[in-house]
């Protein structure tokens, strides 16, 4: 089933068109990667899905974005809070809050008034377990999260995002600040998470897209050039430009 569908999605930053009539459909409980050269609009596209572009002045969006068949572009503010509960995001640079590990994880719970105080500990534990941090951090729950290693921070950010039980996880180059080993571990984690979540990952790293995703989209200058099963795209790309890019001949 399609979890996210866009119909003729276009986005302008002031006079500059960053997304051009994008049509795609992301499938439920799969990992979809979005690849393309720097500046092609990957992050912009991702940030449409949780409407983070709303923060930027002068942004104009046209078209439709359906999540679970509801158009998220014509919702009012209270829907925005609900939308962001449903659609979690992990950023390129790990950005844990300058609070304790525990407070980081229950942040979303507090914001959405999700559970009773007594249940919080349980959720903290489950969230940390699902990102395989529990054993490392169970005795350090009340230490400041800024003291963790980069990889731990990024795991914590993922744990923080899934603590509110979203449906969709958006990841914008989640491994680009990490070393190769940590990258592989996060990818392993994504494979486990896809049983429960629909994951969209933006990456610069072609191997990562090939390794970790089920479907892949290739973007160029704001356009979606090709969208297919990852295996298909990487073995038999239909568009010449995709082929050039994935074989490293682009730019």
């Amino acid at each position: 089933m399609s979890k996210i569908i866009t119909n003729n999605l276009s986005l302008w930053y002031g006079g500059f068109q960053a997304l051009k009539k994008i049509n795609l459909a992301f499938q439920e409980k799969r990992i979809t990667s979005i690849i393309g050269p720097s500046g092609c609009g990957k992050s912009t596209l991702l940030r449409v899905f949780n409407r983070m572009n709303d923060l930027i002045d002068g942004v104009r969006i046209e078209g439709e974005v359906l999540i679970d068949s509801a158009d998220i572009l014509d919702g009012d503010f209270s829907d925005l809070v609900k939308l962001r509960k449903k659609v979690g995001m992990v950023f390129q640079r790990p950005n844990p809050f300058p609070l304790s590990v525990y407070e980081n994880i229950i942040f979303g719970l507090k914001v959405h008034h999700l559970v009773e105080k007594s249940e919080r500990e349980q959720i903290v534990r489950e969230s940390l377990e699902s990102v395989m941090l529990w054993n490392d951090l169970k005795d350090k729950l009340h230490r400041n999260a800024l003291g963790l290693s980069l990889e731990q921070k990024q795991r914590l950010c993922i744990a923080r995002a899934i603590a509110v039980e979203p449906d969709i996880l958006l990841m914008d180059e989640p491994c680009s600040a990490l070393d190769p080993q940590a990258t592989l571990k996060i990818e392993g984690l994504m494979q486990r998470l896809k049983n429960d979540y629909t994951i969209v990952i933006v990456t610069h790293n072609m191997q990562q897209a090939a390794r970790a995703s089920d479907d892949a989209g290739f973007m160029l200058l704001g356009e979606l050039i090709e969208f297919d099963r990852t295996v298909e795209m990487f073995t038999a790309p239909k568009d010449k430009r995709t082929e050039d890019y994935i074989t490293g001949r682009y730019g």
Partner: protein
């Protein structure tokens, strides 16, 4: 060519001299203060001075206990902190998060200009507006109370606190706010649940600096807080502060007498207090930079 070298030389030396001079002056002032004050401590022990409950410098026998003055200063300052810090933080958030563009610049420089109003003027405005109003509204025997002093001091501390806190809030990485919003927080929740913690060292430093500024403040407090050297029990009584005591009594103290030296001793106590506050503020500011 030679002339230019000479000019450079002279300018360089002048700058050097004025730098040295300013340090020298501070040292001189401090040694003078110490010299005049120390002889007093020899006469009356430090313990009796700080712990003494009665300040009767010209009665017979004279008593030199500054506890009421210290408590007066403390009470007025504490009141000022309670009034100024929360308001200033709210104001700083308002300026950094709500106001946009040109209005922001105007507001910011306007607030910084407030810091330049001389305290006598503020004291005077307080006497003709705040004091009668307090007397009437709270139904007090006099409007010259610790609270009046606190309110005016709070107003005086606010520009410093607002301006530096706003810088601290602005310096918070955007990633924190984005992270909070992406989790479904409203702008307001992002601010008070996350951004404020990231800006906290700066905000604390700002508050300390603002308070350091007002704790040494004299004119406005002397004019507004009633000047009764008794240990206060509420904010609604007249109090007397350390600074106001020096200012009010220096003129009438017999030069070279014990009373005269006691005022210098108060000066030393004040110096130590403000110095400590500044050092603490500095520590927080530097921690913030890292």
């Amino acid at each position: 060519m030679k002339l230019r070298l000479l000019k450079e030389f002279i300018i360089e030396k002048l700058i050097f001299l004025s730098g040295i001079a300013s340090i020298l002056f501070v040292i001189l002032i401090f040694t003078f203060l110490l010299k005049e004050g120390i002889s007093f401590f020899k006469e009356i022990g430090l313990k009796d001075f700080i712990g003494g409950k009665y300040w009767y410098p010209i009665s017979e026998p004279e008593r030199f206990g500054i506890l009421p003055l210290i408590l007066g200063s403390l009470l007025v300052t504490l009141g000022a902190i309670i009034i100024a810090v929360p308001l200033s933080i709210a104001c700083a958030f308002y300026i950094s998060e709500v106001v946009q563009g040109k209005a922001k610049d105007i507001l910011k420089s306007g607030i910084e200009m407030l810091a330049a109003i001389p305290s006598v003027v503020l004291g005077f405005i307080g006497i003709v507006t705040l004091v009668p109003w307090m007397k009437k509204v709270l139904n007090l025997p006099t409007g010259l109370t610790a609270l009046s002093g606190s309110i005016m001091l709070g107003l005086m501390a606010m520009p410093t606190i607002i301006s530096i806190s706003e810088d601290a809030i602005n310096a918070v990485p955007k990633a924190y706010k984005e992270g909070a919003l992406a989790l479904g927080a409203t702008r307001w929740q992002a601010m008070y649940r996350v951004v404020i913690y990231a800006a906290l060292p700066g905000i604390i430093a700002a508050s300390m600096l603002g308070i350091g500024r007002v704790i040494g403040e004299t004119m406005a407090v002397m004019m507004l807080s009633g000047n009764a050297a008794v240990i206060p029990s509420t904010l609604l009584e007249p109090v007397r502060t350390l600074t106001a005591t020096i200012a009010a009594e220096m003129g009438e103290a017999v030069h070279g007498g014990l009373h005269y030296y006691s005022l210098f001793a108060i000066g030393i106590i004040l110096f130590v207090i403000t110095f400590m506050i500044n050092v603490i503020a500095d520590i927080f500011l530097h921690r913030n930079k890292k």
